[in-house]
Symmetry: C2
Subunit: 164 residues, 2 copies
């Protein structure tokens, strides 16, 4: 019975991570706002910044991976390899989220030392939607950290909970 709940728990976490990563991708790629400045008219979109493109690519990879793993047969030996893939996916989410947050932070506050002005004043809705995408990316990351600690705990028992 315990094995079944563990397996179901894992699948639910994975499906939730799939939804979060997919939501992050959709929110990011649909973020777009036109802003006019005297005679100049600009359109802010996610592809204007490399870190946001990296975020979309990373979360798209995680979306596909999470979906495929849902269909892996229970007895498959590949589950052992999934632990390492989960580690790589967790690092990819960590990396892409951190890069996007670092650049979004510059976009929101600017940087006087580097002479970079904030942009969110001109395109507030664009920035709000980017923030939404980053939150969805954070949810996917937290779920994958749980999945990873769950896999490591299931095998390594780092919290010494099992009676030896």
């Amino acid at each position: 019975m315990v094995k079944l709940t563990q397996r179901l728990g894992g699948l639910v976490l994975r499906f939730a991570a799939f939804c979060a990563a997919l939501g992050a991708v959709i929110a990011m790629i649909t973020s777009r706002e036109r802003s006019s400045f005297f005679v100049i008219s600009l359109v802010a979109k996610y592809s204007d910044l490399a870190a946001f493109k990296y975020f979309v690519i990373a979360n798209a990879i995680v979306t596909v991976y999470s979906f495929l793993v849902l269909f892996l047969p229970k007895e498959s030996l590949l589950w052992k390899f999934v632990v390492v893939l989960d580690l790589m996916v967790t690092m990819l989410l960590t990396s892409s989220l951190s890069a996007a947050v670092a650049v979004a932070q510059v976009g929101k506050r600017g940087n006087a030392n580097a002479g970079w002005l904030p942009i969110c004043g001109q395109v507030p809705r664009f920035c709000d939607q980017i923030t939404g995408a980053l939150i969805a990316g954070l949810v996917a990351l937290v779920l994958y950290v749980f999945l990873l600690i769950f896999s490591i705990h299931h095998v390594v028992d780092p919290f010494l909970l099992r009676k030896s």
Copy 2:
């Protein structure tokens, strides 16, 4: 004999990661360059950018952690918990490196869409030293990924190398 080489291998990787993280901190905090622009004189330093401060804090934590783990007795049950700590450290290095690289990339190339000018033209030595610090941070990260896969392999055998 195999157990001894594995243990020694782990300690050597950890000591190398300690040196790399320490090098990343030193290179980042000593990066400083004065630049004059007509009558304005500016000093570029790492603390001008939040992502670089985050990079220093993260690598300082990793330096202390790597040093302490070197002295953990072989038989200690804490080694089981070190696997989870190694995961957290790997994520911290991934996150801080990605944030710093994202902002450094804006510093090097600027971003026309956001109206952010590159700064490395005015402070080339500062940017070169930042690049050196990021490379040291990458070395520390790669070493920790090896350590983590080494720990997971040692316990989980994800590559199915052991004859069952």
